[in-house]
């Protein structure tokens, strides 16, 4: 079978898998950003208990594997009465895992906003919430965007693991097609190229655009 025959026969299955992968990426990215912001801020809280909760969360999710977490959420959590549908379990696991990595980026970026900015906000009698939202976070955002670009690619790669709990993403479709045709080079090769295109020609340019946009927004261009 030539490669074109292969593509015309299995192309739409790979395409539907790609769509699921993209959807998973967007959903888990949103979850990861929310968790990263919450945990990153909690890590800087004056209250030791709040700080402790965030530290434990981050250490647990960064200290174990995404695959272990995914299986735990999918197979063990139902025993505690929380049954997640496999698609939900998939993006929740990926989002929670990458959120822990993101939290450290958020924390680092907030700490690297120059001291003077904090003092100036204090001198202007801003409330702590307003100081964080209007002065510190926008500047921290600009600092942390480049490492977030790498994290987003890690996240895309992480979504491939949900195929192991039978979510019909690109990885899963490739596995299925390989199982019935044994055309491993074509199926896995195509899937690898699609992931590469998503990472290099969608995520990376989007993050670059976001960096430029934020730079202009903050009047630093």
């Amino acid at each position: 079978m030539s490669y074109f025959e292969f593509l015309s026969q299995y192309g739409d299955r790979l395409a539907s898998g790609t769509l699921i992968t993209m959807l998973l990426t967007v959903l888990s990215a949103l979850l990861a950003i929310a968790i990263a912001l919450a945990m990153g801020l909690m890590r800087l809280a004056p209250n030791a208990l709040i700080r402790g909760i965030a530290t434990v969360y981050i250490e647990i999710f960064r200290g174990t594997s995404l695959l272990v977490q995914l299986y735990w959420i999918f197979f063990v959590l139902p025993l505690f009465g929380i049954t997640l549908e496999k698609f939900t379990a998939g993006f929740v696991a990926v989002g929670m895992n990458l959120g822990a990595y993101g939290a450290e980026l958020v924390r680092g970026a907030i700490l690297s906003v120059p001291r003077g900015q904090w003092e100036a906000a204090l001198a202007l009698n801003m409330s702590p919430a307003k100081r964080m939202l209007r002065v510190i976070l926008p500047q921290a955002l600009l600092i942390m965007l480049p490492p977030w670009g790498n994290l987003m690619i890690e996240l895309l790669k992480g979504t491939a693991l949900v195929a192991l709990i039978a979510v019909a993403d690109l990885m899963f479709q490739a596995k299925q097609i390989n199982g019935s045709t044994f055309l491993s080079a074509q199926t896995f090769g195509t899937a690898l190229i699609v992931y590469y295109i998503l990472a290099r020609f969608m995520i990376t340019p989007f993050m670059r655009w976001l960096e430029r946009f934020m730079t202009r927004k903050l009047g630093r261009a």
């Binding site: 647990i60 299986y71 790669k157 491939a160 192991l164 899937a191 690898l192 992931y195």
Partner: protein, 222 residues
Amino acid sequence: MFDWRWDFTWEILPRLVAATGNTLMAAGFGYALAVVLGLVFALAQRTPYRALTLAVRETVEFIRSTPLVLQIFFVFYVGPQFGLRLSPWTAGMIAIGLHYASYLSEVYRGGLESVPKGQWEAATSLNLSTARTYFRVIIPQALPPSLAGMGNYLVGIFKDTPMLSVIGVAELMHTATAIGSETYRYLEPYTLVGIIFLAISLPTAAGIRIFEAWVRRKLGMS
């Protein structure tokens, strides 16, 4: 709702601990391969041959932007299609070694670029060969700034070994899944796997930070 069984825990613990040995072995072999191959990738990108530099650069980018689990499948299944049969262990080590080699090559690249140009000029004026300059002058100085990244990826490769279970390498995750399907109990095996991972990766990460500080002190860099 919460029915953790301690007798079952003690029963399966020896099997999981034995499998941890395999996990550590996989991480160790994979890392050794990655450390060497990564250096090859990094040095290849510094040669004057444009074509080679570009090809290696793109390969590294490609490996870094695609999922490891897919690469493991690729290496394992593509061989037999062309008559080359690889054992799960061999295929797994090749895939994970290549994946982390591309990460490490970026770490090395940063380290190598941080060595001041004057060191090269000094080595040239002393009439040292390129190989000698690299091994006696440049790499020793590039190493300390690379240590943090190398340590992170050592922990990283350890945490990625569960993916090898998909092609049947009998590491920790594979064993836990096997126990689960034999006994229909997933709570204890998967929770223990998580705890074992934490118990190894947290002290390792802390140890690496101490080692890094020690090297810096030894070399008078801090």
